[in-house]
């Protein structure tokens, strides 16, 4: 079991990360939260401070994670403030407009930059640090969309797919240093951002539920985790449809 006493959360203001942060605080963790939007981040930190007890430490800072020059400084500060790192959750990302990406190569590059390269940059720095200290867990929110390319969102899918493969390799490398690397693949999540969708179907999960799954996976040091679990079965089928058929499908 990995203990999660001191955790850094990147992209802390996303709904899934926010609920994960709340549950971590409820379990007694100290947190360092990084987010892009100042108002949102401050509201999040105030909220976590109210929830935390006096001996837990809650802090954070505003940063645009596409600026990779800042990454080393962010990790240093977090480590100093928390007095060490037991866990890291990387949750930042965007859901690109597929049509806009198709029309504009620069837009496509930009989305891959945010959703894959900025994460890989962070991971490279974090991996070396945790490898040295020989303990800790890194969890990254990837997506079921990274399991197979589909016409409706393959730019996002390609970025997440790159991330998932990078994480596989990293996990393989860090197992020797007793550091766990967890790939989180959420399905449909009922966040306030998706309020306009019809969520009456059984596939929609609450962010609280996903958050619980993330924490459990981090504590147990799991490898790849589908959340909720049944997406494992759905994606198993989707991955095994022959390409000759898949290319004509519209999913």
């Amino acid at each position: 079991m990995n203990s999660l006493k001191r955790v850094i959360v990147f992209g802390a203001t996303s709904a899934i990360a926010e609920y994960t942060a709340r549950q971590l605080v409820a379990q007694g963790a100290s947190l360092y939260c990084v987010g892009r939007n100042r108002d949102k981040l401050m509201a999040l930190i105030d909220d976590l401070k109210v929830r935390a007890s006096d001996h837990q430490h809650i802090d954070g800072e505003v940063a645009d994670l596409t600026d990779s020059g800042q990454h080393a400084h962010l990790i240093d500060t977090a480590e100093q403030v928390l007095g060490g790192i037991d866990g890291v959750l990387i949750a930042h990302g965007t859901l690109p407009d597929q049509q806009a990406c198709q029309a504009d190569a620069a837009k496509t590059r930009q989305e891959i930059e945010i959703n894959a390269l900025s994460v890989i940059n962070l991971l490279t720095l974090l991996a070396n640090r945790l490898e040295q200290q020989r303990h800790g867990v890194i969890a990254v929110i990837s997506s079921v969309a990274g399991d197979r390319g589909r016409q409706s969102n393959y730019v996002y899918g390609a970025a997440k797919g790159m991330l998932s493969i990078f994480l596989q390799g990293l996990r393989n490398r860090l197992v020797k240093a007793s550091v766990d690397v967890v790939t989180i693949k959420p399905g449909f999540v009922d966040t306030p951002m998706t309020a306009e969708f019809d969520k009456s179907g059984p596939l929609w999960a609450k962010p609280e539920q996903i958050a619980k799954g993330i924490i459990k996976a981090m504590q147990k040091g799991k490898g790849e985790v589908y959340l909720p679990w049944f997406w494992w079965g759905i994606m198993l089928i989707i991955k095994h449809i022959p390409e000759a058929i898949f290319k004509r499908m519209s999913l």
């Binding site: 949102k40 509201a43 109210v50 951002m193």
Partner: protein, 433 residues
Amino acid sequence: MTAPRSWNRLPYVAPEAIHALTQRTAVVPESLPRPLLAYGNGRSYGDVCLTEQGTLLLTRGLDRFIEFDPQRGVLRCEAGVTLGEILTLVVPRGWFLASTPGTRLVTVGGAVANDVHGKNHHAVGSFGHHVRALELWRSDGSVIECRPENDNRWLSATIGGLGLTGLIRWVELQLMPIQNPWMWVESQRFGNLDEFWALNQRAESCWPYTVAWIDCLAKGNAQGRGILLAGQHASAQTELPTFKEGSKRFPFDPPFSLVNGLSLRAFNTLYYRQPVTPQGSLTHYVPYFYPLDAIQDWNRIYGRRGFYQYQCVIPPREAEAATAALLDTISRRGEGSFLAVLKTFGHKPSLGMLSFPRPGTTLALDFPNRGDKTLGLLEELDAIVREAGGTLYPGKDARMSATLFQSGYPQWEAFNDYVDSSFSSRFWQRVTS
């Protein structure tokens, strides 16, 4: 898009658009169709939280705490936080809500907008009495911080203001100190209404919390028989029992109401015959205050057609006669609810211009929706309430007439000056037309 519904699942109306708020300072887009109306956790009844035109602003995403002072018991939080979330935070630190309704699944914004009340109304007033401050966003872009000590006109319009004065973004509450999460509760059976009045008067003078459940189907000498629960927060104890919260969910929508004459009579008789503890016992605050919260989606028991909740208040002078007349009418029709609740309000004047609580007796009942038959019964009840100078609770109403509303809320025209021109509800259109 699935349209948000109210708790009694009628009327069934959809807005033109819905917009989820996730950040209290975020701009409400100009492009959204007007009028606007906040929708919290969908626990009010009828149409105070619904609109057929314009946009519902979903406030559950505004669920952050802002500041808590554990020394003074002052909590500031966003409007979409539920009372249950507040209790989870503050009870272990020795604080409790000064006033709470019978469900903790309501948002704090909704509790203010309906100026909800609890079993301790006779001792501490309603929810609005414990609001230290709130922030109101107006559609012209202005933001008003309302405090009782400043100019409180906006506060008295917004408390009980049914969400019509603008969007409540945060609320600051004064909490009440407690020693532990337990209640000391005495329950006593009473055989009819006369016994209730005597028992209730004695209980109110020495207990902060009182409420009675009555068997609304009992007739004759047994009319109004029931059980009175009197409670107080337990004092410091050396040893406390353990409490484990269970949760069940009502799993499906029956095609018709499972609440019918047969099941009602059986349930009410069994409930009345349950063992009582006149000598008192310790009960955890959750089952004491929120017995129905243990069954998620309990409203589904009434079937697809939904149900009507009827809650009235009768002024003290007319209370005994009118309560008897209401029960007569209900038992004659053989309609009635699992839990008919009877309670007397205290004399502390409510702060809101449209607040429901006022001196007198309040009776609350649920009726399965059987169409015209049910509506006919409710109109008979209206006549008794009107005659007695009483009124109905907007937060639980789906059908009262404009005349009945306007006679019960004489300040409604003055209140109109505070209504945000870009906010409205189906309820408001119904009772002001």
